[in-house]
Symmetry: C2
Subunit: 527 residues, 2 copies
């Protein structure tokens, strides 16, 4: 059993144990509890020996977290580089904030559900601290604390949520967020268009297949809901139902709206006409769809959205993957303007979800959104002066718009893609291996290493006095090291070193004084 | 008052408050308590208005932590790049582990003192977790868990210690460690020599002035102590006294050894001869100093150290900054062989320690060690089978050697250096700014941006409909953007764009169809 399998089993057993304990606490039916216990013991058996030979030391990572081994790291770094390059291409600076914040900074920012998922640090004397839940609230705190009203920054860092992990679907308790945000007072929606351009660039460069970016606006949602008789106080709860439309059919969403949210059948029929407009017109242009929406009289009179401006900016920036979609209703309450979400509908189609060596990976076909964001104009101002503040205190708003990449999902898609295309992953950047053909050449190898390191080459050598040539060459083939320099007695006498191309196995003698330029030109010809 | 000043004051006030509370708890002299309270109130006055205008929201980072703004990040990334490049040049892979570990993984690894400094997470149900204290124990856990016996890896990540912070001296509660380690069974000390080579390379490339790497070996320490009558059980405690020799004069260390550690005057006189050998022979060669040490009869018979081998390997690798120093006695208990520590004696000499804009910085002249490490052959094996394990369980040792860079200190030195040399720090990589000279050219600017982004250029534009030309040019001068493209009506009619060199202010008209190659060649000529 792989380590990943063991972890999955352990976390399943843990979850079953939790369930049993809560059933007991609720004094549930004894037969049910017995059944659950039996199921858990079965699972435990599966773990079997794997567990026993670890002795008393339980060697595992915390629930919902994973190590990144060299191969995963190589994939992760390639994805992060594409994201970072895009952020830099658009002129962003970068900042970093501590992994924990004062608890009161985070409190009340993530709604009732989110708040429960925050990791608290133990009170060991001094301040009460919690691990960050996202990068947006620390960003807002940073702006407010330093009175910054104007910045374009990115922040790539891990965040923490005590959610139920589904590691096989890329849902972890510790995961990366890659955020790009523009703070500043601008009349036009160019910053929004730039965020969408970045999403388009990153997903194109990752070559993960067809994707599209759903776009909507809070004003349109408000207009649609108001036209259907849902009051402003119902905005959040109606949003959360509509948000399910990408997973559930309309009839189920409609039922929820009527049964749980108190809308009438008349209300929902009207709402359905609005939010299903994209569904009914899958290939209609964005401007045409917006026009069509505005044909509804009730809506045109309510909507404050400046029709089509952002869509037009996207065209100017060459972003053709944006699809205006009135059913997009992201859950977070702090959005005040445009909202967007990128999906890769066919991601992982046909991928075997079995363990692929280093870690078990896998997501169902389609992985949900891989990037999302929107405008939030009031979060920073709330830090500077809480919304309840009365009287003379001057409230300074710092309008912000941003996007966050769901980078674990992109890792998973990239790892799967590499698996399908059977691409080999290099975990080192070693260019040259210094080998020896005979015994007693350690000093010669070390001297050669020194010369090449000092010239900036990436070089390795065996740490043994008399390594076997075959072992050394095998290492290079396994690790995809392109060149080997073989030091030998004959060569030393002739003042040459043997240069071997690992792939073609072609060898040539290179005079020592021509070595550096020869290596440079050979390496650049291999690129 | 700068934000940094406020933070320093707040943490001082906090510490004074803590002291007062503990004095009260101990029922200390009332006059003393009164005096302390008065001092604290004085400090509080200093904070004054700065505090009041923040309203009820306390806008600060957790004690002992800091934000990194764009300028600090630019410095941090330049330092990290030099470190990472060195690790890659030596063929290392990279891994990452979660920020928290099961508490029992960390327990008992950092001695009594270290253990107190571990941050625990609150018990919110489920596993008991703690934040990592270093990267070495998670590395050992990773090796043991995945049964890896052979790896050369680096790991760059933040670690956490609830120490008393001295932020003006670069001592934080959240800080980076950059670790390079080689795990594997090798007879020769080549991995040690490679670690020292890396330290030499990184510190040379950082150009932070003269440095040297102190080298010693556990066997030599054991031999010296035994020859002076200190038993094996006293090893750790004698080490901790000797370790102070870089800060305290010998007489004080000697006094501590006699009074607190139970050595006799005869013992310490002998010990002094050994450990002060480098002090007495500051310019003696390493091999000669080793020879001199071995002239002491008691020592030669005790020392198991293979005289001079590592020193010789260092010469082969061209490392001339290693100084064998018998007084080096690093505190950590897990070292089993060579130990080393790099110091920059004249770091920050002549640096003004005043606030330099973004954050207050500053260390006293000399900053202590900037890199340190050694061999630890038993840590991984202890994970696989705890040392108390009896009977048949097979213990597998995974010998390791590594080095860790004290990167916050290097940041501080680099920031100070930039301050002295008045180097301007670029926080973005923007190459080209798209400006307009007249009104109503937004669409033209956006189209040009799109073309250049798609060609891979790093480009920015103003987010306003009709920005002033002067404002746009000023932005480029402030941000050190090298090139500006100015879109104008006349130019549009002529099918050209005006290209302006920000530094020289020279302008030229470039035909639109020659724009991309012209920009590429201009940018490469500027490098």
């Amino acid at each position: 059993m792989s380590e990943a399998d063991v972890q999955v089993l352990q976390s399943e057993i843990k979850a079953m144990g939790d369930e049993i304990r809560s059933l007991k606490a609720e004094k549930a039916d004894a037969a049910l509890i017995k059944e659950k216990i039996a199921a858990m013991l079965e699972k435990k058996k599966l773990l079997g020996d794997g567990q026993l030979d670890q002795g008393k030391h339980i060697l595992k990572t915390a629930k919902g977290t994973r190590d990144y081994g060299p191969k995963s790291m190589a994939v992760r770094e390639s994805v992060l580089k594409i994201v970072t390059d895009a952020f830099k291409r658009h002129g962003a600076e970068t900042i970093d904030t501590p992994v924990f914040e004062l608890r009161e900074v985070l409190m009340g920012k993530y709604g009732e559900e989110g708040g429960k998922l925050v990791y608290d640090l133990q009170d060991q004397g001094g301040e009460l601290l919690s691990l960050r839940y996202d990068l947006t609230v620390p960003f807002a705190r940073y702006l407010a604390m330093n009175k910054i009203t104007n910045i374009k920054r990115y922040h790539i860092a891990k965040v923490y949520r005590r959610d139920q992990p589904v590691m096989t679907r890329g849902r972890y308790r510790e995961f990366y967020q890659c955020d790009f945000d523009i703070a500043g007072q601008y009349d036009l929606m160019i910053p929004e268009a730039e965020c969408l351009k970045i999403v388009d660039e990153v997903l194109s460069k990752l070559e993960i297949g067809e994707f599209n970016i759903k776009l909507n606006h809070r004003f349109i949602l408000e207009g649609m809901f108001a036209a259907c008789g849902a009051g402003a106080d119902q905005f959040k709860t109606v949003c959360s139902s509509v948000d399910k439309l990408d997973k559930l059919p309309w009839v189920e969403v409609e039922e929820e709206l009527i049964k749980d949210k108190g809308l009438t059948k008349e209300n929902t029929e009207k709402l359905g006409q609005f939010v299903r407009l994209r569904e009914f017109n899958p290939s209609m242009g964005n401007v045409e769809l917006l026009d069509k929406l505005m044909e509804f009289e009730d809506l045109a009179k309510n909507a404050r959205f400046k029709k089509g401006v952002l869509v037009n900016y996207c065209s100017l920036f060459g972003v053709s993957t944006v699809r205006f979609d009135p059913s997009l209703a992201r859950g977070l309450d702090y959005y005040t303007g445009a909202i967007y979400e990128a999906v890769v509908p066919k991601a992982l189609e046909g991928v075997s979800l079995e363990a692929n060596g280093e870690e078990q990976k896998g997501l169902p076909v389609g992985v949900g959104s891989v990037a999302a964001g929107g405008r939030y104009d009031e979060l920073v101002g709330n830090f500077m002066a809480p919304s309840g503040t009365k009287g003379k205190e001057k409230r300074q708003d710092v309008p912000c718009v941003g996007v966050s990449f769901g980078i674990e999902r992109l890792f998973a898609i990239m790892e799967a893609k590499m698996q399908i295309e059977q691409l080999q992953v290099r975990t080192t950047e070693t260019e040259i291996y210094i080998a020896s053909a005979q015994k007693n050449l350690l000093q010669e190898r070390m001297k050669l290493c020194k010369i090449l390191w000092d010239e900036g080459f990436k070089v390795e050598l065996a740490y043994k006095a008399n390594p076997k040539l075959l072992t050394q060459l095998q290492y290079c083939e396994d690790r995809l090291v392109p060149l080997v320099l073989i030091v030998g007695e004959r060569e030393l006498q002739d003042g040459v070193v043997k240069l071997r191309n690992v792939k073609t196995r072609v060898e040539q003698d290179v005079p020592v004084n021509e070595l550096v330029p020869t290596l440079r030109s050979t390496l650049s010809s291999l690129k």
